[in-house]
Subunit: 284 residues, 3 copies
């Protein structure tokens, strides 16, 4: 992280925005030690999305992480569910998290996810909301882990993954709930490319600078038509969110989440580093 | 095959169902020597689908074969077409074969195809109806051979393949009518993965046991939403079936099927082992 | 190119049609030195499409190039825009270029693009309109370069690429505007396969002869149903065309095109050979 960068959004605590130039911003997830997502993260993120939508000079945004080992992780289950569900609906009419994801897909700029470390649950959903994703071959770990703990994912991967990688591989990712390394993610088309970790920053930076030099009108109008050919409807995204909330409320799921915490979930260490494997231990 | 396994469906003759556990069944195609599909096979299969749909404990089904060299092969053309077309419509309103295929995609359990040997025509259509497919690198041979003999495929690959692997590769598979080995099938996304034959059983078994340990409600609701994003309508499946039946009735097609039989089709040996190549000889 | 081949369409100047057999034609783009596409090219092409649609014996068409280094390139920007936009609408109601592309996807024969050299803009759009594409590993260069010069592509890649290769890679191709070699195009599913240049002709010829031996009714009816599952609507194609024309008229785009010409665009040499790289120099 460039030391000259600083938070541009007032009171930002878990997400940092820095401007590489007027047309190229970096949005850095920075909620150590595990980069979990709770309600405060969502409030900050919604503010950043508003800035991305309205800045006239902005053309490209790169999402990355300042937390070693975690791009962006699952939700914070130590927070009461009501704190999440009481957040106001966004302008799309969707609840806070799917609202952010849908607005990112529609934003008139190019969004790029740069994946190092775990992109699990919310991290994978951000990736799928971005226009492109490049992953570290050695350090990326992508997953939708929800079914393994009795949940349904809330940020729309049931709608987006089959359109991106086909039904069979989408079902493997979602129902298998396992950790996926960079090269398999590339082979499945889950990410654009998996690159050697040493090359990842240079590659993404060069692409961002390149696209940032192009015409914003052409970027937006091209993206708008790609969206028309590829995005699920908001109703489909809403259906996923509603089933997710219903799943969390089920006693069977609450029991599994509690048992997973007893195994080390939500604490730095083996369980968070190997969620895929630990789901087998949980369900043994 | 585990020697303790036995048929669980009464009078089963061409398909065996065995229960690895209450939540994990194996459905094994066993119609030697060529694993052809005729009307009796369909009647048995429909009964098995009903059991899969209604069993409350079942969570994962693996489809495999007990016939060396053949996962599941084309239809039995020695049977009168009327024996097939006179089978009753299924509950979806579709004819017997597409009814089975559609209901498998909707079943509230995970279905996995494990491909060893030839999956041609019906075998490929079962694969495309399953949630995931894993293929033997050395022994899988997948194809939609129908156009090569003047037919149109009946189990919906025109609807399913383009959504799974894109229009260009779907057209290559369908119009080229050639045999496709495991690694090319993986590269095209026709199967989830191609694995060394020696690893295939262990991999699929471990995945089945893993998913079988997860929560059925979460599996079903996740699959339901993936289906909403990825399945063709039943009308599209019906259109494929109707054109297939029309194609079989054409004198030009009947002549080609007869000539193919004269080349060894329907008998164990070279023609059945190399259908792709023999289609060139047929049409020379 | 077989020396016995000759133009079959009267007055053909930029596109040659030769008949390998009654059921197998080759359509060869031959507008040296850069294989640019201008209004005259479109008029010839429309005539050829009419012949492809109506010939009763024809079953397979291979598109290739007679110009070293260029399969089919971008439009000719030295021609007044009015000469293009004043061409009559085609039978689909679409303007001349999207009309040709849509009719190729619907033609009752198999169309195969054989890519050697640059397939940029129109060349990529033809590829996406064909049923299959095979690319030279060493010599294919595929791109949608339009955004790099402030344009939106006119032949529908915003509609077709996401359905073929997924949203993320489609956006990378379109917004990145960079040159893509054969192997990356294969990995992305942009082409069916990338083959060693020395094998490409034999492979495509064998496939064309194979499919040409099959039954035309079966080919057409299979393709028709794949189309139903995979093609965008004509309205979506029209939207892309309209935005393209609007983009060309923008002063910012005109200025970029002029500046690109000053860098060597439209002349044989480095700029045309490395459009992807030169777009960075243009936008510096």
């Amino acid at each position: 992280m460039n030391p000259t960068m600083k938070a541009e959004i007032s009171n930002a605590k878990q997400i940092r925005v820095s401007k590489a130039s007027a047309n190229y911003w970096r949005v850095t997830f920075d909620n150590p030690p595990l980069n979990l997502m709770g309600p405060a993260f969502l409030v900050e993120f919604a503010e950043i999305v508003r800035a991305i939508e309205s800045d006239e000079q902005l053309k490209v945004v790169v999402f990355d992480s300042a937390v070693e080992g975690f791009f962006l992780n699952h939700s914070d289950f130590t927070v009461k569910l009501e704190e999440l569900t009481s957040l106001p609906q966004g302008p799309t009419g969707l609840e806070a998290w799917p609202d952010i994801l849908v607005r990112l897909t529609l934003a008139p700029v190019v969004t790029i996810a740069k994946i190092r470390g775990r992109a699990t649950g919310n991290g994978s959903e951000i990736l799928l909301a971005c226009d492109m994703t490049f992953a570290s071959r050695e350090k990326a770990l992508i997953s939708q882990w929800e079914v393994g703990v009795g949940m349904v994912a809330g940020g729309g991967p049931m709608a987006r993954l089959p359109r991106q990688i086909g039904r069979s591989r989408a079902l493997e990712v979602l129902l298998g709930s396992d950790d996926i390394h960079g090269d398999l993610a590339e082979a499945y088309g889950y990410v654009n490319r998996s690159l050697p970790d040493a090359d990842l920053d240079v590659f993404v930076d060069a692409l961002a600078i390149r696209v940032g030099s192009f015409d914003k009108w052409a970027i937006f109008n091209t993206k708008r038509l790609v969206n028309a050919a590829s995005l699920p409807t908001d109703i489909e995204m809403a259906a996923g969110w509603d089933v997710c909330i219903a799943s969390v409320k089920r006693p069977a799921t609450q029991a599994r989440i509690k048992a997973f915490m007893d195994l080390g979930f939500h604490k730095p260490g083996d369980a968070e580093n190997h969620i895929g494997k630990y789901l087998e231990r949980l369900n043994r």
